[in-house]
């Protein structure tokens, strides 16, 4: 897997690349079908809440999860800017009920298949630029090195 915070004028971009042993249609469906999504999406310690996905350009999605039964869910939501089944998705990304008013960011996911292996390339961009403010400070450089270490296999 490759994951690198890249500094750009528009903000910070994360890029990830990962190969899955599954046909592209299955991986795409796992990424976009609420019934499948709820079986794997939630991080450890979280359970799925409502998941709604209107998979078409301009359509909205909202993926909820909660820590325990009856706790208020938090959501990721946004709308699709591009939908090319099963090759490519572009959508906006925001959090609700947590990290609210965080700037809107953008996620691009591409699915490439070769010999039964599907490679997913994910680009999450427009994350707020912070490091530029601190590039002269040793403390921040250490912080970025720590981030690199925690994110690079």
């Amino acid at each position: 897997m490759i994951l690198e915070p890249v500094t750009q004028r528009a903000g910070v971009t994360f890029r990830l690349r990962r190969r899955f042993t599954a046909p592209r249609e299955n991986v795409f469906r796992a990424w976009t079908d609420p019934e499948v999504l709820k079986r794997w999406w939630c991080p450890h310690g979280w359970a799925p809440a409502e998941i709604e996905i209107d998979l078409r350009v301009g359509g909205a999605f909202r993926i909820g999860m909660r820590r325990v039964e009856n706790s208020p869910p938090i959501y990721v939501y946004g709308s699709f800017l591009e939908v090319q089944t099963p090759e490519r998705l572009i959508y906006t990304w925001r959090w609700e009920n947590a990290f609210e008013q965080m700037p809107q960011t953008r996620v691009t996911v591409q699915f490439f298949e070769s010999g039964g292996i599907t490679e997913v390339v994910l680009i999450h961009e427009n994350l707020p630029e912070i490091n530029v403010c601190l590039r002269h400070r040793a403390g921040w450089i250490e912080a970025w090195e720590r981030i690199d270490r925690s994110l690079t296999p």
Partner: protein, 110 residues
């Protein structure tokens, strides 16, 4: 994802969204600076600079002190570090998601 001081973080990200404010922070990263000197590189009015500084101050990114008639600003690293930690978590989140998807696909494939 931990819900850590979301409101404080919102203000920080809001403050960071403006290029003039980011440039001001970059200058302050080199050390304390007077308000007058901070405004010099920009072709904007002193009241406009004051407004940017107020946004930065409200978000907790800078503090201000007065020495005689001169106001000085200073960067607060802790606020920036909290914002940086959040970005770090967003990256870690995607990595977790890929792990979870791989696990799901491994179990579900015939």
């Amino acid at each position: 994802m931990r819900e850590e001081r979301p409101n404080a973080l919102d203000a920080v990200f809001g403050a960071l969204s403006d290029p003039i404010r980011r440039t001001i922070l970059a200058r302050l990263a080199r050390g304390e600076c007077s308000v007058t000197a901070l405004g010099e590189p920009f072709d904007v009015s002193p009241p406009a600079i004051s407004k940017h500084l107020r946004v930065l101050e409200t978000s907790g990114l800078i503090t201000r002190r007065k020495a005689g008639r001169v106001h000085y600003c200073r960067l607060r690293m802790d606020a920036l570090h909290r914002a940086g930690d959040w970005i770090e978590k967003q990256g870690a989140f995607w990595e977790q998601q890929f792990d979870a998807l791989a696990k799901y696909l491994d179990q579900e494939q015939p």
